[in-house]
């Protein structure tokens, strides 16, 4: 065990150790290589439509999508839709994360909580939350409430499951240390249990984000009078495929942006982890 430790420790040399020998123009090359494939794909798409291999009505070329993106943007339809959808996800996610965290803490920290809640929650999680849409509509109508409840439901479970497992999976050996250095229970929670379960929580947060976006997409298609989903459903009525593609792009961009935010959070909160230390070393 010790030998692996030493090995990993030496695998991250001091930040300055590897930088000097590297020529500057080579540093940019990997980034270029990574965007080359998507660019080629777009060019091929554009060419295929121009050559008539693909029908422009069902599959508009990237240039047409960009154009309608621009039109929607300057006619001020894009930003409001985006904000409405973003607000739904934010509120739903906030409620779901709060509920999942509370449940994970209760079941993770107390045997009583575990016995009372975990069996029920494990049963509920096998139910696909999207199957509840008909019930949601009956209970809450077709306004904002059912959408937010669905997103919250979908987001709560990944948080709960990951947090609970992470708390229960914390290293027993460190609990022995906590006992020998005389940490109280609140101190053990603060210095051992919570930090130990943070990586698991963040994995849960990422999964919750993914679920939240998918739920949003589905929920917005039931019925919506605003948001990206509304934009798309409206476009379908009038066969405006280019606008549908714009909507898809918006979903993708929002999904990417939030995933990036969580990753940023990870590098900040998990600075102690070897992988993070390595990444920070490379960036410096």
């Amino acid at each position: 065990m010790m030998s692996t430790r030493t090995a990993t420790a030496t695998a991250f040399p001091a930040p300055h150790a590897q930088s000097p020998a590297r020529p500057k123009n080579l540093v940019r090359l990997p980034r270029l290589r990574r965007i080359a494939a998507p660019l080629l794909f777009l060019a091929a798409w554009q060419a295929a439509v121009a050559l008539g291999l693909i029908g422009a009505r069902l599959m508009p070329p990237p240039s047409a999508i960009a154009e309608s993106f621009w039109h929607l943007a300057i006619s001020n339809q894009l930003l409001p839709s985006l904000l409405v959808s973003l607000a739904r996800v934010t509120v739903g996610l906030a409620i779901g994360v709060a509920a999942g965290t509370a449940l994970g803490l209760v079941t993770g920290l107390s045997r009583l909580g575990e016995d009372l809640l975990d069996p029920t929650l494990q049963m509920l999680r096998t139910l696909p939350h999207l199957a509840l849409i008909p019930l949601m509509i009956l209970w809450f109508g077709i306004g904002e409430v059912p959408k937010i409840v669905l997103i919250a439901l979908g987001a709560a479970f990944p948080i709960y499951l990951n947090l609970y497992a992470a708390i229960r999976g914390a290293d027993r050996k460190l609990f022995e240390v906590a006992a020998t250095i005389g940490l109280s229970f609140p101190e053990t929670v603060a210095h051992l249990i919570l930090p130990a379960s943070l990586p698991g929580f963040l994995v849960g947060l990422r999964q919750a984000l993914g679920v939240a976006w998918i739920t949003l997409v589905v929920a917005e298609q039931i019925n919506a009078s605003a948001g990206i989903g509304y934009l798309i459903m409206n476009a379908r009525e009038f066969l405006e495929t280019d606008i549908i593609f714009v909507g898809l792009c918006l979903y993708a961009v929002l999904g990417l942006a939030t995933d990036y935010a969580v990753r940023l959070l990870e590098t900040r909160l998990l600075a102690w982890r070897p992988s993070t230390l390595g990444a920070l070393g490379r960036r410096a």
């Binding site: 065990m1 010790m2 030998s3 430790r5 030493t6 990993t8 420790a9 991250f12 050996k173 460190l174 022995e176 240390v177 906590a178 006992a179 020998t180 250095i181 005389g182 940490l183 101190e187 210095h191 051992l192 930090p195 130990a196 943070l198 600075a271 102690w272 982890r273 070897p274 230390l277």
Partner: protein, 242 residues
Amino acid sequence: MNAAPPVPAAQVIGLTRSFGGPPVLDRLSLSLRRGEFAALLGRSGTGKSTLLRTLAGLDPAPAGSVRVPAARAVVFQEPRLFPWRRVWHNIALGLRFADARSRALAALAEVGLSHRAQAWPLTLSGGEAQRAAVARALVRQPELLLLDEPFGALDALTRLRMQTLLLRLWQNHRPAVLLVTHDVDEALLLADRVLVLENGRIALDRPVTLPRPRHPAHPDHARLREHLLASLGAGQSDREQS
């Protein structure tokens, strides 16, 4: 066998412990004097760790009486630092003093680790991490210091340095030390007293009166070494391995 002074640093009487099967510790009795450095030898699986964990309060003592001071500290075979707390913070955790941080820094200085006080534990080498673990024990000013094969996972040179360090810390602070080891040479280099655990009891309890600093070349040293190895049941080939 030993003339125990009125207040021992730790006292175990009639300790029995089993894990379902035959008892691992069988009516074991042991008394450690204040400030004494005792090494506990024994073959693998004889219950050395179980005894140490009982003294540390990590294992219940279902039968028998165990009296240990409140001020005790443990060093395990692995450093067991909290990876999400800086090195100095690991040392300071659980200290009930307003100046916990400066005490932690002083302890780090004493083990020669001042320059790594702000580091994350996972960036330490094996030897550095174990020195931090020793500092974490030391800062608690223990009357009883328990070490469970603390240097077993280190390379030979690092182990030698750690042994010297432990000896110096013991001489400066004088806690009673119980060092579990499987290394007869380590025991003879450091301890005043060697104990051998066998069949759940202390089968051998010998003072080590060799002059300090210890030299393996000393004739008495070699004789005691042979004696201990024989009582550990080591054949010639086993001896070569360790």
